[in-house]
């Protein structure tokens, strides 16, 4: 099994979700996260004082898939999340050793 993790722009979450549904992906986990990459942050001005916001809000999406699905899930997320501007995020894949569905106790690929 593989875990596909994507850090994307928050307003792209819906596009990614739709793309994954089209692929038939059954579930995903989403978290609001903050961080910085090459995009860096931005400055805000309050009564003339500059305030630097160096951590940019992003959305992190985690999807568990079977080995054979990983590549097309990655491609699908990348296509859906891309704007072409800096700060589009990253997608990576890690190998999952064990997976259990809590309700039924199913293990491995059956639990995806």
């Amino acid at each position: 099994m593989k875990q596909v993790t994507a850090i994307v722009k928050p307003f792209k979450l819906d596009d990614v979700k739709v793309a994954l549904e089209v692929l038939g992906i059954q579930g995903l986990t989403v978290a609001e996260v903050q961080g910085f990459g090459r995009q860096k942050g931005h400055t805000e001005v309050y009564r003339g004082a500059e305030y630097t916001v160096d951590l940019v809000p992003k959305v992190r999406i985690d999807v568990l898939v079977s080995d054979g699905d990983a590549d097309k899930v990655v491609d699908s997320i990348v296509e859906a999340a891309r704007t072409g501007k800096i700060g589009d995020g990253k997608v990576w894949v890690t190998t999952v050793d064990t997976l259990v569905r809590v309700r039924t106790g199913e293990r491995g690929a059956d639990a995806v």
């Binding site: 001005v45 309050y46 009564r47 003339g48 004082a49």
Partner: protein, 457 residues
């Protein structure tokens, strides 16, 4: 007279609203989320503490010499002659209450300069002492009849000097004595909720009609005749209402234009601040200028205050929410501009309240009016600055002002009040299992009957 009395009841309630909740919202939105409750509490408790003091000895000390007037030429009136409103007719209570709301908001205004770091007990002690030794004497000496006014009669229609310069200089002095917040200015604090601030500014504007328009004083000749009374009531209130509105609109636009040029963007905080700056500046002058004068007052205040709020970084004074930059600077501009755009054709001019034979410089007057205005400002700066310094240092070296460094960094709301303003929906929030909430969540299926019994037990 009934109509006027009814209006004063409304006006008094409007000014009360300026402190709770308008000022509390305006300031609260500008603080960090970990200190918003403390900031709002400073306005709430200031109102309560000052209000109690006011009915005990405040009215007597500031106004009490002859009941409704204060023309005794002394530095203060006797604080004990009308202690607990002894001898004051209930028919005059509404005027007592109207003045009470002014004293309360003046003390509350100071809190913006010392946000995020002051113990509530020290703040309550300070407000009680401060109104007794600073506010009541200044009100007595600036608003006609006290010792200073008998030397230098000046125009302060609704308290630009008594309220705003007074609170502004006191806030600056306290910020200096109490010191900077941990990390300031290396770590700047970002306003945590500007929608609260904009609601607060809007409510302040609304309430300010009670503040300014309610501050009419009947002159001797008109109170004797019904027709004259009615004419002054309608004409003067129309003028002050209009001037208050026009100046505020101009100040907002002027602030936005100034920051657009200086910093690149017109901001919502700038709009809210411009509204307050304009209201502050038109407060002393709304009865002494005409429509064009009000436009000048508002525009100058908007530009000057927008620039002034940047000065604290240059001098290293953590006047956290710009009490100096907005209230001191705006108040001085309003007081002094009367010397330029004040006109004897205004309500106060018609009532003969301009110092003998004077007029604004733009209306053919000499420096007399400007000079008298400057003397009113000077008296307030010296009296308020000096006594606030003594009080501030006294508290600093006795009971102490500050919460601990750790409490300040982790958040004064929790340290001083044992509360937090917002449930962020995190793991410790209600309904997520790890907090104190019942185990069942809204998305779970209804628990079986025996489970419900267990939960109840």
């Amino acid at each position: 007279m009934d109509g006027y009395y009814a209006w004063m009841i409304v006006a008094t309630a409007l000014v009360l609203m300026m402190t709770v909740p308008a000022l509390a919202l305006f300031y609260g939105g500008m603080t960090r989320s970990k200190s918003v409750l403390n900031m709002m509490m400073m306005s709430f408790v200031a109102f309560a503490a000052v209000g109690v003091v006011f009915v005990l000895w405040g009215w007597s000390e500031g106004w009490g010499a002859d009941g409704l007037g204060n023309n005794n030429g002394d530095l203060i009136a006797n604080p004990f002659s009308m202690f607990g409103l002894h001898g004051v007719s209930p028919g005059n209570y509404i005027y007592v209450l109207f003045q009470l709301t002014f004293a309360a908001i003046t003390a509350a205004l100071i809190s913006g300069a010392i946000a995020d770091r002051v113990r509530l007990s020290a703040w309550i002690v300070f407000t009680v002492l401060w109104v007794t030794l600073v506010y009541f004497p200044i009100a007595h000496n600036i608003w006609g009849g006290g010792w200073w006014y008998s030397k230098f009669p000046n125009l302060d229609y609704a308290g630009g000097t008594v309220v705003h310069i007074n609170a502004g200089v006191a806030g600056g002095v306290l910020a200096l004595i109490i010191g900077k917040r941990v990390g300031w200015p290396r770590e700047l604090t970002r306003p945590h909720n500007l929608t609260l601030t904009m609601i607060g500014a809007g409510l302040l504007w609304f309430g300010w009609y009670g503040f300014n328009v309610g501050s009419m004083v009947f002159n001797d000749s008109t109170t004797k005749a019904w027709g004259g009374f009615s004419a002054q009531f309608q004409g003067e209130m129309g003028t002050t209402f209009l001037n208050t509105t026009v100046a505020t609109m101009c100040a907002m636009l002027a602030w936005l234009l100034t920051e657009r040029i200086l910093h690149g963007k017109a901001t919502s905080l700038g709009a809210a601040s411009g509204v307050v700056a304009g209201l502050v500046a038109i407060t002393p002058s709304c009865g002494a200028v005409n429509t064009l004068g009000a436009i000048v007052v508002g525009a100058v205040a908007g530009i000057a205050c927008a620039i002034a709020v940047g000065l604290k970084y240059k001098i290293g004074l953590d006047d956290s929410l710009d009490v100096v930059g907005v209230h001191l600077v705006g108040g001085i501009i309003g007081a002094l501009l009367i010397g330029f755009v004040g006109t004897t054709s205004s309500p106060q001019g018609v009532d003969g309240l301009f110092p003998a034979g004077s007029n604004g410089l733009f209306y053919g007057g000499d420096l007399t009016l400007l000079g008298h205005q400057a003397m009113g400002v000077l008296f307030t700066l010296v009296w308020s600055g000096g006594i606030t310094a003594v009080l501030g240092l006294g508290i600093k070296y006795t009971i102490g002002w500050r919460v601990t460094r750790d409490d300040e960094m982790s958040g004064i709301d929790n340290a001083e009040h044992g509360e937090s303003a917002y449930d962020w929906g995190g793991l410790s929030a209600g309904g997520h299992g790890l907090g104190a909430a019942p185990a069942a969540t809204s998305t779970a299926p209804p628990p079986a009957a025996e489970t419900r019994e267990t939960v109840r037990a």
